[in-house]
Amino acid sequence: MLQGHQSWVFQSRPVILASAAVGGPFEAKGALADDFDLLHDDLRMGQDSYEKAEKKLLEDACNKAIEKAGKKKEDVQFFLSGDLINQIISSSFTARTLAIPYLGIFGACSCSMEGLALAALLVDSQSAELVLAATSSHNSAVEKQFRYPTEYGSQKPPTAQWTVTGAGAALLGQEGNGLRVTAATIGRVVDMGLSDPFNMGGAMAPAAVDTIQAHFRDLGSDPSHYDLIATGDLGQVGHQLASDLLKKHGIEMPDEKFTDCGKLIYTRKQPVIAGGSGCACSAVVTYGHLFNRMYRGELNKILVVATGALLSPLSFQQKESIPSIAHAVVIEKEERE
């Protein structure tokens, strides 16, 4: 149900029956290794290309989520997925394997929450009983497509981020036990004219702030309503910017409540510069780490704001700036206070 200008409140409170997070070898050495359902020790996942490896990650995450929920893929009505590879082939090829009716989505690294919000909408409107929302990214496949060859020796600036190799999937249903998706805010595209592809955090921070403000306005809420507000992949630089920008706009956001998936996923010892990024960043941290914290009772209500930079290798070479977007989803534990 529409609330305010750009938010949905899901009256039926769709249930997240299960979620899965899959990662690569670099993520296995990261700070959240214990929160993954499956970790690969081979960057190619036994495939002969990085693109096929990413498809494998996504297939693993989808199968794992369905399996954890004790369902069969034939039971799932719709599959919503997006990724960063040209023409979202990782998602489409996974949909081919799963043979579940499929809607491909694209919101760059915001695919995770875009998918989750749409899945919740489908379930809430009784258009489906079970919907699977997933997304993936692979460091080498993304570097190859957007930047330089993986082994190319260029020095990255302090604002650069590390694309997460992994995939996350969540299975939503009308009934059952689990976390509940209660509201979502769809972001608008914000472009502050930044064009440095090595500073995505800086480009995306205003989009995150815009969506967070819209969310609070539409739902009449404020940071005190949430135990945690996590942005998708702003990294150190972008998250600091978002935090300062919120302060500037008069929103008091306590530091301990405001975090970023890109800051959480790796350890300080790993050479990720400003932090993690990519579709999988918000997906694996939310579907793995944050959900686990909710199951343990450490968090009861969270707001995940997945951020995406909507550039293409072509647009950046043609000196276009980086349009950005952010989608926010509220996830709550079963019991109402």
Binding site: S49, P149, Y152, G153, Q155
Partner: protein
């Protein structure tokens, strides 16, 4: 950001960019230059070592030793690239690993490695010069222009 592109920005965009610029971590230019100087120097010293090696143990003069020396440095760079080490050295060394011939070999080898999955012709063949291409294109072009100037000066009796 150049002044030309700044003019097209709205006041809000300009304000945010200034806001973001103030919070952007500064690139450690001096430290990077120092590291580049150090690593670039080490690479050149290794090259010098090979040149002496070829002159001492083989029948090479100072001029002819250049070819096997460059070949050796290229092979070393390609091996380090294939082992996935070169990019890590480069993140630390910056310009120090890009400027010598080892950097050029790295651009070719890394592109070839990445695009191997698209086959030998369209993949490796078509993409190997993706990064090195501009260097070759403009290198040849500037050499041509300089050549023309040299010929013109000679014809005018200037040289």
């Amino acid at each position: 950001m150049s002044d030309k592109s700044k003019k097209k920005l709205t006041p809000t965009q300009q304000e945010y960019q200034a806001f973001a610029k103030r919070r952007e971590p500064k690139r450690p230019v001096f430290k990077n230059s120092l590291k580049a100087f150090l690593v670039g120097g080490i690479i050149c010293t290794i090259g010098q070592g090979f040149q002496w090696f070829y002159m001492t143990f083989f029948d090479f003069t100072e001029t002819t030793a250049g070819n096997p020396t460059v070949a050796t440095m290229i092979i070393l760079s390609v091996i380090l690239t294939s082992l996935g080490v070169y990019d890590h050295i480069a993140q630390w060394a910056g310009g120090g690993t890009i400027v010598p011939v080892t950097g050029f070999a790295n651009t070719l080898a890394s592109a070839a490695l990445d695009h191997r999955s698209e086959g030998f012709v369209l993949g490796v063949g078509g993409n190997m010069f993706k990064i090195a291409g501009p260097v070759i294109t403009y290198g040849v072009f500037s050499a041509f222009i300089i050549g023309l100037i040299a010929v013109a000066l000679k014809a005018l009796g200037g040289m």
